[in-house]
């Protein structure tokens, strides 16, 4: 059975070109870039090239790129850097729909003497900008707001927020893990201070991330150790994966320029319209307009998302209910709760996330398999018959 992988917001296939580029750096050119011999030097040059490629993808200077081990490390580094650089400020602003990398960290900080403001979102997942504006104070050390949401794909106006933060002299960080590679990201234009991205969300391997730190932004390292990354991140460089993320950035930049994401968007739109048309009592989660081109979050009333996933799995279709990082519980995700998705519908939420490898045939298959699957599950549900007649917005 062929796998139809529509869980690309959880993680992606490593591009074959990326694997090919990484290979020699395992068993052939395996030197430590910190070593003085030529053998280490070969590796150092490749890291420089990777840094340039990653910088180009987000329009940063190579010197502003710090390689880390993942998006979570990049996010932690950004938050702690701001707090340590502003030791007297005890206030953090973030949103109610952040990834656990920010959400759980801020909840932890809230228990250790920091005050955290959680900006709400509306029914379509859009940020309450007035709420945000009113929370900015002289005590605010950092504003951390994601560029795009991992579950709904909703895009926040980070450029506007960066400008508001700059006017107040507050550091602004964005978790752009889901945005980079899917939509144009331009740090120079946006004026943000720090940005986190993760390789495995755009066809680089897991285990490598990046923190962009705008020149002039106050910074303090999170991982203290050797002199690597100009003293901004200790630990021997993850050479092969850094070379991998460099190649993946090069490919992503080309794809964005070539309109590849428009193709992905049209596939997503096709899946969306087929589902909404053919399956009654189905809700789209999040704004239709301000949204990543690859993401579709829908809620099927009166069915359990986990049951849908299991049945899809039997057909070789990989999708997600809630975010992968919080799966393992049957609670609706904090994101869908923040949007106010009705409880019965939130339980039946499925996220389909496409990639550049997704084909029209795959979308066709899912679009035709899904309606009978949902029908079957609903027929088994004690709530379906009595609930079906109620109309829901």
């Amino acid at each position: 059975m062929k796998t139809i992988y529509l869980d690309n917001n959880a993680t992606t296939r490593v591009a074959p070109e990326v694997v090919e580029k990484m290979m020699p750096y395992f068993s052939e050119y395996y030197g430590n870039p910190s070593s003085m011999h030529m053998f280490g030097g070969v590796v150092g040059k490749q890291i420089t090239e990777a840094r340039e490629n990653v910088a180009a993808l987000i329009n940063a200077d190579p010197g502003e790129i710090i390689f880390t081990s993942c998006g979570t490390e990049s996010d932690s580094t950004a938050i702690y850097a701001a707090l340590q650089s502003n030791p007297k400020k005890r206030h953090i602003i973030t949103t109610r729909v952040e990834h656990p990398a920010i959400k759980n960290l801020c909840e932890h900080l809230a228990k250790t003497g920091y005050r955290v403001s959680w900006v709400p979102v509306d029914r379509e997942g859009r940020l309450d900008m007035d709420y945000l504006a009113h929370r900015m104070t002289e005590d605010t050390a950092i504003i951390s707001i994601m560029w795009a949401n991992n579950e709904t794909g909703v895009i926040f106006p980070v450029e506007k927020i960066a400008q508001m933060a700059a006017e107040k002299g507050i550091a602004f960080h964005t978790d752009a893990v889901q945005a980079v590679g899917k939509i144009p990201v331009d740090v120079k234009k946006s004026g943000i201070n720090m940005l986190a991205l993760s390789g495995h969300k755009f066809h680089a391997p897991k285990g490598v991330g990046v923190l962009y730190v705008k020149k002039g932004t106050k910074f303090a390292p999170f991982l203290i150790g050797g002199h690597q990354e100009k003293g901004r991140r200790g630990g021997t460089e993850n050479v092969a994966s850094i070379i991998g993320i460099g190649k993946a950035a090069e490919l992503a930049r080309k794809d964005l320029a070539d309109g590849e994401m428009d193709r992905v968007r049209s596939l997503r739109d096709r899946l969306e319209s087929e589902i909404l048309e053919k399956i009654p009592n189905t809700l789209l989660n999040g704004s239709r307009e301000d949204r990543l081109p690859n993401t579709l979050s829908v809620s099927f009333e009166y069915v359990e998302g986990e049951s849908i996933l299991l049945m899809l799995d039997q057909l070789g279709v990989c999708a997600s209910s809630g975010s992968a990082c919080t799966s393992g519980t049957l609670e609706p995700s904090h994101v869908l709760r923040a949007l106010g998705v009705p409880f019965t519908a939130a339980h039946g939420s499925i996220r389909f996330s496409l990639s550049t490898y997704t084909t029209p045939e795959e979308i066709e298959t899912v679009a035709s398999e899904l309606p009978p699957l949902i029908r079957k599950l609903r027929e088994m549900s004690p709530f379906w018959k009595k609930g079906a007649s109620c109309s829901i917005q």
Copy 2:
């Protein structure tokens, strides 16, 4: 020109068996182990197996193994976990010869309200156990002492130290990055609380490490995010590299059982005796007995280590002066200074570090190339002629 790689304490070749085992997890089974679909489940099983293999290498329980991104992250996690679990204690004990992952972190903590005791070593690099014993107080939150030194290979009596710490109720962490894979490490027997290891020091790729945390030890996560590693380390698992370190651990365990490290030791001993015999005014750094089987640190008087490295490099021989992590400066390393190696000799220090891939022919080549190389460099040195007649211990 064939490379003779004798810089294995800096980093190692990834074993071909390890690369082979990792490969399918890039572009074929690339699922997120947190995902509910089978595709993620395949990966989860492999991570379980890797955890068992790493646990077996150090005689831990699999539940005591936390995968991290590197030795530095493991070390930081251990230190911060102890400090956070003992918020009233403000004292740390470590040594003067730690790797920068501990040294620089403790120097940072010393600036932020912690008191740090730096245990000295003698001329052979052995720890001053009396000094250590007298520094343990009720205020001591953690003792962090490396298992084996990266530059000299000197092995510390960590089992005895663990016992002393346990008697005083103080948490004991060891940076065992250089020990694991080279000598038997048994955490159950030693009774230590936490232990850091790094994959790329024993033929796994760079970018993956482990923190062992003994069951019952007070712990707090350093990377806060998703639920991964049972909530002890956020961030999507570095799947391929974790599978890689599992395979490398399996190979290392087999090699240790088969006496492979005795073969490496005999090669190291041969290189050592050839050098000390054929090259006058040469000093061995560190204890001859309590030492890793693969490490040889020697100081050649009246020559610069960097010049030796450059000339070796031209012959295809990779070695190191000082530790790779602090190279880039011409200062003698803090380790050699702590041993009291005379200034003129410390500048001419070279570390040769062998591995299971080192051959007798390679050792033969280096042993024959080195004497004329040092002679040539000394002939160019203004200090050589007048210094040569002085006898040095």
